[in-house]
Amino acid sequence: MTEPVPFTFAGAVAGARGVLPAALSSAAFGMAFGALAGQVGLSFAETALMSAIVFAGSAQYPAILAWTFPPAILPLALTTFAINARHLLFGAAIRPWLAPLSKGRAYLSLYFLSDSNWLAAMRAWNSGATDRAIVLGGGIAMCIGWTGGSIAGHLFGSAFGDITRFGIDVAVPAFFVALLVGAWRGRADILPLIAGGAAAVLAERLLPSGWQVLVGSLAGSLAGMLRRAD
């Protein structure tokens, strides 16, 4: 496990460039979030701190909408867990690639694990990339976009008003489609993709909000595994 693997500044820059479309749209979403947090009554410092250390937009949005003074800490923590539980799968799936890194580098990279930089890193790994700093660099770019956007939104309000103007809300799903095409393995991807999507749509209708990504990811991965086992 101590075999040295590349972890370079150039790799981090490549990681940041790879997630650029997602980081830019994350900045726009961050602005909307920062403006909303200000309206709800969180201070500038609280908003900036939350985006920097929670760094999970899909969990922060519902949290801020449900915020009370004082906040209901246990429900907030539970909802945050539900929405972010998909990261457990991300970390498990990328373990073989990151395991040769020192503990410090691995757990620092994991701090910045998000949908976009994880998907981009999985694609890079599949296509033979060896520089593990891709995860860290991509994550830092996402975190700067999200936190910087949150700060700007709290200070100045959202520059875009409604996030659906200019189609900013479509940027993230479009980026996922681009990553899917780039990492396409062929027919083996069809079943997990469709099963994951169907289970997520079903879970969105049947379960409390927040669980659909985890449920879909588990169902899709399981379907893909069982099919191979036949």
Binding site: P21, L42, F44, A45, E46, L49, I53, V54, A56, A59, Q60, P70, I73, L76, N84, R86, H87, L88, L89, G91, A92, A93, R95, L98, Y107, L110, Y111, D115, F166, G167, V170, A171, P173, A174, F175, F176, V177, A178, L179, L180, V181, R185, A188, D189, P192, L193, G197, A198, A200, V201, V213, V215, G216, S217, G220, S221, A223, G224, M225, R228
Partner: protein, 100 residues
């Protein structure tokens, strides 16, 4: 730089829970066996995650999202360029919304 005590506690709790999910899967796999089944399962996680993230957006009933995602797919297949695909998706979605 005002930070209320209970707001700080809530933010720290959210951050701790989130980091636990980010580090937890990686940490746990040290102890769980990397069997053939586990490998097959984990190999399918990326496409399953993309399906789970995309489908609720596609079936939200907003035709602009579906049109944008379709444009992204076409442009990515033609140009092999992520940023071009995202730009095309935003333009198509904005156009659809402007014309509705």
């Amino acid at each position: 730089m005002r930070i209320e005590f209970w707001n700080l506690v809530a933010i720290l709790a959210m951050a701790a829970v989130t980091y636990a999910t980010r580090a937890g899967g990686f940490a746990l796999m040290r102890w769980l066996p990397f069997s053939q089944g586990a490998k097959q399962f984990l190999g399918n996680v990326p496409s399953a995650v993309i399906g789970a993230l995309l489908a609720p957006a596609l079936f939200s009933g907003d035709p602009a999202v579906a049109a944008g995602v379709g444009a992204a797919l076409a442009v990515r297949l033609l140009t092999r360029h992520d940023l071009a695909a995202v730009g095309a998706a935003m333009a198509v979605a904005a156009l659809v919304r402007a014309s509705l």
